[in-house]
């Protein structure tokens, strides 16, 4: 038996009703973590049950209403897991769509197998009454199956026709409906050819393509949803009686007092009432240097508190914040992208009229040759079935799914197939600076100043804290292969630093007492004080990535909201053309200008200030550390410190489009042979079934080659 599955519904019923909360726990990586989280939480008083969803890196907790979300977050932290409240998944709608398609696929599969069983005996020579009975049975199975499994196609075709457009679903629907109607007529009049198997098989293959497409989307989106939510989604509000409670961002109102801890992001604009701190507003403005803020100063939603805990009185919340303006710009920018026509629909524009006139011409031709209405109609339907874009329906999704899953393994989540198509067309890349070319988080400048023992002590102290500087230090030390030293009684004093003992010698990681330029911490071992300076470094493989982009014929440039001097330094270092001090609207204007010149621009950015540009660019990519808004606006998200997935994405996207074109060519060649056969009346249901499966298999096989091509390091 597997490990026990806690039942989320039954246990709470006895006492008072439990409430369910969901948390994302990105740090779960193995079976041990599942057990640790579930058992650890179940042991907490007030928790009825905890159930981990490992694929979504999420845990659902059923608990007593008296237990707050913060308590559970604290318990998770004690268990050794960083966790966040999971937002209602804004992309959850896709799931329902995937399920609907899966159900249709299952029904089509059931129908196809049973009808094929009957059809094979007809092809094998069953005649007379047996054949009629089998055709009748096929009809009884096929009609409800087609009615159910065909709905996604019929609905989309109807929608297209209503707007006087045509898409791939129009020829599919017409083909399936005509074939079914014709076969029904054959069955009732005791004819020899029934195409029920062909019609259902067509639906099955096409649905397989749609399901693949939908699964690729929902997998990437759940990956992105797991990254979301580190930005101020709410705040701890101080009540009049001195207690605090957690309030969601959209419930915050002007006048409330928020307690903002170090490392937390602000959920609303506000004025500092108490405390001095440094804030990082790079998400909002692109400005890389943290800026000090004291009593009476206004800080905006989206900035991150790097220094001490502060009290902030909310001056503007939700729709009135500085972010809301950016959101409005984004809405407008995003509309241009919806006009993009996907390659399958482009193909359908030429394909559908061609196929329909071909069928119509063969009908007319046979009528003129004197074959009679019935015979001519039969041949016209055979033409429609044989040309029905079985391979075409698979040509695009099969290639894109293979490409997307390969990219996912290499750390890039693509939201949908259209993003891959647009990525392949890119000829210019526009980078934001802070958080995109750079890591966007403070890292120690030089670790070689510390000796081996100091490194171990620094790691042991740093990993016990959530402060951004500690996290940067810990991640750099771990990256250098340092093992943490064993410490006793480690404690954290908010706004001050970490203290502990190593074999009775006091050690500490403290905020420098004298404010020096830039960010720094002091490591204290006994009486020895060592200064560790921090900076926001470039991503480790920026140069290689830019080089590869250049080889692919893509011109790169920087568009940053940071100060001229800071941008110029990076631009010089990388040899890029750069524009500095740009506001969100300026970036958008720059993109529009470039689009007007006929360029297809790839925008790569992370901050809230990049949001409109990400939504307005031809295609966009955001790093995993980006703001929620940016990750939702971007077409793809890459995870990790390396920038290389960006150039890899373009290479794979171009390879994908090559394969898609090959698939189209294969489908065309297939039609070249099959259509004349159909026109001259040689096609039987058996031949149609063989041709259809063979062409689909060839297309899928060709698409699978992409997995190998994309896996190679560089072309």
């Amino acid at each position: 038996m597997n490990a026990p599955v806690p039942d989320l519904t039954a246990q709470g019923a006895a006492a008072q009703p439990c409430i369910d909360s969901r948390f994302t726990v990105p740090g779960m990586r193995c079976a041990g973590c599942i057990g640790k989280v579930e058992r650890g939480l179940a042991a907490v008083p007030g928790v009825a049950a905890a159930r981990v969803n490992f694929s979504a890196k999420r845990v659902a907790v059923s608990h007593d209403p008296a237990l707050t979300g913060d308590d559970i977050l604290e318990e998770l932290r004690k268990l050794g897991f960083e966790a966040e409240r999971a937002a209602e998944n804004p992309l959850g709608r896709d799931d329902a769509e995937t399920r609907r398609l899966l159900r249709a696929l299952a029904v089509a599969g059931f129908g196809m197998m049973n009808i094929m069983l009957l059809s094979v005996s007809v092809w094998a020579g069953a005649g007379g009454e047996t054949r009629e009975l089998f055709h009748l049975l096929s009809a009884l199975i096929a009609i409800p199956v087609i009615a159910y499994a065909g709905r996604p196609f019929f609905a989309s075709a109807l929608m297209a026709l209503r707007y006087r457009r045509t898409n791939m679903d129009v020829p599919i629907s017409i083909g399936v409906l005509l074939a079914t109607g014709m076969s029904l007529y054959e069955t009732l009049t005791g004819g020899i050819h029934a195409y029920f198997d062909g019609a259902v098989m067509l639906l099955f293959f096409l649905l397989a393509g749609r399901v693949l497409d939908a699964m690729m989307r929902s997998r990437a989106r759940s990956g992105i949803a797991a990254l979301l939510g580190r930005m101020g989604r709410g705040a701890h509000v101080l009540e009049t009686d001195g207690s605090t409670r957690y309030v969601e961002a959209d419930r915050l109102a002007a006048g409330m007092v928020m307690l903002v801890a170090a490392g937390e992001a602000l959920a609303a604009d506000g004025e500092i009432l108490e405390g001095r701190t440094t804030v990082d507003s790079s998400m909002l403005t692109g400005e890389s240097d943290p800026r000090p803020a004291g009593v009476g100063e206004t800080i905006h939603a989206g900035t991150i508190n790097l220094g001490n805990p502060v009290r902030v009185r909310v001056t503007a919340a939700a729709q009135d914040t500085a972010i809301a303006d950016i959101a409005r710009l984004m809405d407008e920018a995003g509309q241009s992208r919806s006009r993009y026509v996907r390659i399958a629909d482009k193909a359908a524009r030429y394909y559908a009229p061609a196929v329909h006139s071909l069928a119509f011409l063969s009908f007319c031709g046979w009528m003129l040759a004197g074959a009679g209405v019935y015979q001519s109609l039969l041949i016209a339907v055979a033409v429609l079935i044989i040309t029905c874009p079985c391979a075409l329906g698979l040509a695009v999704p099969a290639a894109q799914v293979v490409a997307a899953s390969t990219l996912m393994k290499r750390g890039l989540l693509i939201k949908d197939g259209s993003a891959l198509e647009r990525l392949a067309e890119v000829d210019e890349a526009l980078f934001d600076k802070t958080g995109t070319l750079t890591l966007g988080e403070p890292r120690p400048v030089d670790l070689t100043e510390l000796d081996a023992r100091q490194r171990g002590l620094a790691l042991a102290l740093a990993q016990a804290s959530r402060h951004p500087l500690s996290r940067g230090l810990a991640s750099a030390l771990r990256g250098a292969g340092v093992e943490p030293a064993t410490l006793d009684d480690v404690s954290e004093t908010a706004g001050h630093g970490m203290n502990g003992h190593c074999a009775d010698e006091p050690v500490a990681l403290l905020r420098p007492e004298v404010e020096a330029g830039g960010l720094a911490v002091d490591l204290l071992v006994g009486d020895v004080r060592k200064r560790i300076a921090f900076a926001d470094p470039l991503r480790p493989d920026v140069r290689e990535t830019l080089e590869q982009l250049g080889e692919q014929g893509i011109v790169s440039a920087i568009a940053s909201g940071d100060r001229q001097a800071a941008v110029a330094q990076v631009a010089r270092e990388l040899g890029l053309f750069a524009t500095a001090a740009m506001r969100p609207a300026d970036k958008l204007a720059l993109l529009e200008r470039k689009a007007g010149q006929g360029h297809k621009v790839l925008m790569i950015g992370d901050g809230l200030n990049d949001g409109p540009a990400l939504a307005g660019a031809h295609v966009s990519i955001a790093p995993g550390g980006a703001s929620d808004v940016s990750q939702q606006a971007a077409d793809a998200v890459f995870v990790g410190d390396r920038l290389m997935p960006v150039s890899l994405a373009i290479r794979v996207a171009r390879a994908t489009m090559r394969v898609v074109r090959q698939n189209f060519a294969l489908a065309a060649i297939y039609n070249l042979f099959a259509v004349p056969l159909a026109i001259f009346g040689f096609v039987t249901p058996l031949l149609a079934a063989i041709a259809m499966s063979a062409s689909s298999l060839i297309v899928v096989g060709n698409s699978l080659r992409l997995a190998r091509a994309a896996g190679r390091p560089a072309a």
């Binding site: 490990a3 981990v52 490992f54 694929s55």
Partner: protein, 56 residues
């Protein structure tokens, strides 16, 4: 050929049972967490004590 009268309904029935099982599995969330199911089999179970030790 009378055997057909028995075999064809049987084939259909078995197909329908399979289809029904798939629908049920999807509805009851069997496909929600595929990676998790693969990992859960590795979790050590320590007796019946649900509050078991935390050092796994």
């Amino acid at each position: 050929m009378t055997i057909l009268g028995f075999l064809i309904p049987l084939a259909l029935l078995m197909g329908l049972v399979g289809l029904g099982a798939f629908f049920w599995a999807m509805k009851s969330g069997q496909f929600e967490d595929l990676d998790g199911a693969a990992n859960r089999i590795l979790i050590d179970e320590d007796g019946d004590d649900p509050d078991g030790d935390r050092n796994s």
